[in-house]
């Protein structure tokens, strides 16, 4: 946030710097051009003024020289007037020439032809015809130029005056040094040669398109237009390239000349560049200060506030709906804080409302699920033949585990432990479906394998969610201890034989339910004996993880079972659960925890059909009566009933052969009803069919026997006989609420 802001601020400041620098550059460049133009123009004007002065000076000198030459010619004329013989005196003429400082001295006749000259060997020269034709007295001075030996032009004056001594002309050539110096000063080209502008600049003097003079610039081979310079129409040039060097140019009209002053751009910009360098450094410092000042101000005024708001928002998004935004550094932040606080408050309300609704629904679902799990006391009235305890602790309100147990008939108990692949309400619904199918199919007395084959087909049907369930299912025949069971992909249960150790019951595993509709399931059988115990569980037990990511595992389960294995089922389940919680520590419960413990403890007594076995029967009844807290009267009756039935079987059932008798005692305290079930494989015999003995006879005729069946009938509340599978099954029920009679 802060970095992003600084980045943008930096970009803006950089842009401002660039704009400012560009502006400065343009202004400084324009100023430099202007200054250069003024400078060059002033220099050019000064030069022109100097030239003007030189010309004036020259003219004045020329006038003086003019008069002076005439005067000297006059002197010679007078000299000849008075010393005419001098014409013939060459030596004298030479002396006069020196005195008069004339370079040549000629004396001509009236026709202008030279008659005498000094110096002596001077080539003859005639007076021009115009002079000859002039009306006397002639006084003419004609300046003329000539090319000197050094190539420069010099001024020489030719003076013609009329002779005083004779007709003719005195013709002097006079060369004035001072005049020539003055003349030199009037020569614009010479002037240009030495004229400089700046260190590397100079001037070009042109007439028309021809460059007359190039000073130090060496451009004589070009024409003016070839350099991009125009004749007289433009007064300044921003860029003129000569010999690859760029110049700034200013042109000025002077007489018939076009004078162009040129200054190299490098010189022109030198000062500008220095100034710009200085300005850049200054700007950099200025803009840095501005950047840091704005940055600090914004951080103080805005970023701190935004960070405060962000910190509050982070707390809120991480789940703390009671966090408040409290930034008061500006009215905007106060407004923002208030807005956030009221939004979060409304959100909190909405969430807690939704949470309450969801919680209620889950509670309802959990209650439905709990009500679907049978309570252990639903095993009555045969609780003392098999003791069963089951518990399920869901990891969430509604779990995916379940257990079930129910009677198929008087002697067959079905039980199961299952784990649905998912959790929550969908899993609970699937669980209900699985539970219902298994129960209803089992109740219709199908074999476990058939129950599962059919239940699986039903569960696969319409199972769009792809859920499945693992089940361990068993049907126990209490009369024989025969257990038919099936393991559909579930954890192997543990079996503890009476006085033995817990061992995993590893059946051939079958496929999970609800995935492949055409699977055939297979059951296995084993026989439970008195005192055997089965421990069924789900993977919520073995796969519970502790803080070290370690699983509880089968070994720990086995150890815990060995430690608490002799406890009654309910206590054992509590201990195992306690061990799990201790192991789990601070880690959460990951999965539903389900345990089902079944103790097979049939109250069945098996005897040989011999009278000597009677004490065992009596002993057995003593024990069961004591265990069920039945009174002495009831016990006495039961003892009599049992003895009569037993003796009857001993005497008649097997005739002379050996045989056995099985006795089972059941007691249901709720309806205070005790039952004795006698089973033998002897000849069919229904005691109900025996007619009552005659009790009216006196002692003499009274038959000593026949009272057994009579006593039984008298002492029981009901008697039920069945002949089943070649066995006599006699069920005698005695209510214990009150003694009969």
């Amino acid at each position: 946030m802060k970095k992003a802001f600084q980045k943008w601020l930096f970009l803006f400041v950089l842009l401002a710097f660039i704009l400012t620098f560009t502006g400065s550059y343009m202004v400084q460049t324009a100023l430099a051009h202007r200054a250069a133009e003024v400078l060059i123009r002033v220099k050019l004007k000064a030069a022109c003024a100097q030239l003007d002065n030189a010309c004036k000076n020259y003219e004045e000198i020329a006038v003086v020289i003019h008069d002076k030459i005439l005067l000297r010619a006059d002197y010679l004329a007078l000299w000849l007037k008075y010393q005419p013989e001098t014409i013939h005196n060459q030596k004298e003429l030479g002396r006069l020439c020196n005195i008069l400082k004339a370079s040549q001295m000629r004396i001509c006749n009236a026709a202008g032809v030279q008659i005498a000259a000094a110096p002596r060997d001077l080539p003859p020269e005639v007076v021009p015809a115009t002079v000859v034709a002039s009306r006397p007295p002639v006084r003419i001075v004609i300046p003329h130029k000539f090319k000197a030996a050094d190539g420069s032009y010099d001024i020489e004056h030719d003076v013609y005056i009329s002779r005083l001594d004779a007709p003719g002309f005195i013709f002097l050539k006079y060369y004035s040094h001072s005049l020539n110096i003055a003349y030199d000063h009037t020569d614009i080209k010479l002037f240009a040669e030495s004229f400089r502008i700046g260190a590397g600049g100079g001037i070009i003097i042109a007439r028309g398109d021809d460059i007359l003079c190039d000073g130090t610039l060496d451009v004589k081979e070009f024409r003016l237009s070839e350099l991009g310079l125009q004749d007289q129409t433009q007064t300044s040039y921003n860029k003129v390239v000569i010999n690859e060097t760029p110049y700034f140019g200013v042109s000025l009209k002077y007489k018939e000349y076009n004078i162009i002053g040129l200054l190299p751009l490098s010189e022109l910009y030198e000062r500008r560049n220095q100034l710009l360098l200085l300005l850049s450094v200054g700007y950099m410092i200025l803009f840095s200060v501005v950047f840091w000042a704005i940055s600090a101000l914004v951080e103080y005024k805005v970023i701190k506030g935004i960070q405060g708001i962000c910190a509050s928002l982070n707390r809120i998004t991480s789940g703390d709906l009671y966090a408040r935004a409290d930034v008061h550094s500006s009215p905007e932040f106060i407004q923002l804080s208030t807005g956030i606080n009221s939004t979060v408050s409304a959100l909190r309300e909405a969430i807690s409302e939704a949470g309450r609704r969801y919680e209620n629904e889950l509670k309802l679902a959990a209650a439905i699920q709990a009500s679907a799990l049978p309570r252990p006391d639903s095993l009555k009235p045969r609780q003392n033949e098999v003791e069963l305890y089951a518990t399920m602790t869901a990891a969430r309100e509604v779990g995916g585990d379940f257990y079930d147990f129910f009677w198929i008939d008087d002697t067959h108990l079905a039980f199961l432990v299952a784990d649905v692949s998912e959790k929550g309400i969908p899993a609970a619904l699937f669980m209900m479906s699985a539970k219902t199918w298994i129960k209803s199919l089992a109740k219709s007395r199908l074999e476990p394998a058939a129950v599962f084959t059919e239940a699986n087909r039903m569960l696969c049907f319409d199972n769009d969610t792809g859920m499945f369930v693992t089940v361990f299912f068993g049907i126990l025949d209490l009369s024989s201890g025969l257990l038919r069971c099936i393991n559909a992909g579930h954890n192997p249960p543990l079996l503890r034989r009476a006085n033995g150790n817990y061992e995993f019951l590893r059946l051939e595993p079958d496929f999970i339910l609800g995935t492949l509709p055409d699977v055939e399931y297979h059951q296995e059988t084993l026989t439970l004996k008195h005192g055997d115990r089965l421990f069924l569980y789900t993977d919520g037990v073995t796969e519970q993880i502790n803080s070290g990511e370690e699983e509880f595992g089968s070994e720990r389960l086995l150890t815990s079972l060995e430690r608490f294995g002799k406890d009654i089922p309910e206590e054992l389940a509590g201990h195992i659960y306690g061990q799990l919680k201790e192991f789990q520590g601070d880690s959460p419960q990951y999965d539903d925890i389900t345990m089902l413990i079944l103790d097979y403890r049939p109250e069945r007594l098996t005897l040989s059909a011999e009278v000597e076995e009677l004490p065992k029967l009596q002993n057995y009844l003593e024990q069961v009566c004591a265990r069920n807290h039945l009174g002495e009267d009831i016990e006495n009756h039961l003892q009599i009933i049992a003895e009569e039935v037993f003796i009857n079987i001993v005497n008649y059932a097997y005739e002379d052969k050996e045989g056995g008798v099985s006795v089972l005692f059941r007691y249901d305290p709720e309806i205070q009803s005790a039952q004795l079930v006698f089973t033998d494989s002897g000849i069919p015999y229904d005691p109900q069919m025996v007619s009552a003995p005659d009790l009216s006879e006196d002692s003499g005729d009274r038959q000593p026997g026949g009272l057994g069946i009579f006593l039984i009938k008298e002492l029981v509340d009901s008697m039920d006989y069945q002949r089943k599978d070649d066995r006599n099954i006699l069920v005698l029920t005695k209510t214990t609420g009150g003694t009969k009679l």
Partner: protein, 98 residues
């Protein structure tokens, strides 16, 4: 069942202790077969008899029949349970219970 015999000049008192069940009946039958000779008064002391089954009743009826030719037989000190059985079977008068 323990059986204690007290023989006082033709009067035999049998003190019974325990359950008068089928096994006890067999034992008593054996004993009486030897001991009843010359006895003119037979007393069954039931003070310690908890319960009686039909086998016991059968022995008592048989003995009563046997004694009818040689003397009196009576049963004393019966508890409620035994009395109940004797009442149901209508033997309480026949067996001369005190």
């Amino acid at each position: 069942m323990e059986i204690t015999e007290i023989n006082e000049n033709g009067k035999l008192i049998l003190q019974l202790d325990g359950r008068f069940d089928a096994l006890a009946s067999l034992e008593l039958e054996k004993k009486l077969g030897k001991s009843l000779k010359g006895i003119n008064e037979l007393v069954f002391d039931f003070a310690n008899v908890k319960v009686i089954a039909s086998a016991g009743l059968r022995v008592l009826v048989q003995t009563k029949k046997q004694m009818s030719g040689q003397g009196a037989m009576k049963i004393i000190n019966i508890n409620d349970s035994v009395r109940e059985i004797l009442t149901i079977t209508k033997l309480i008068k026949l067996l001369d219970v005190e």
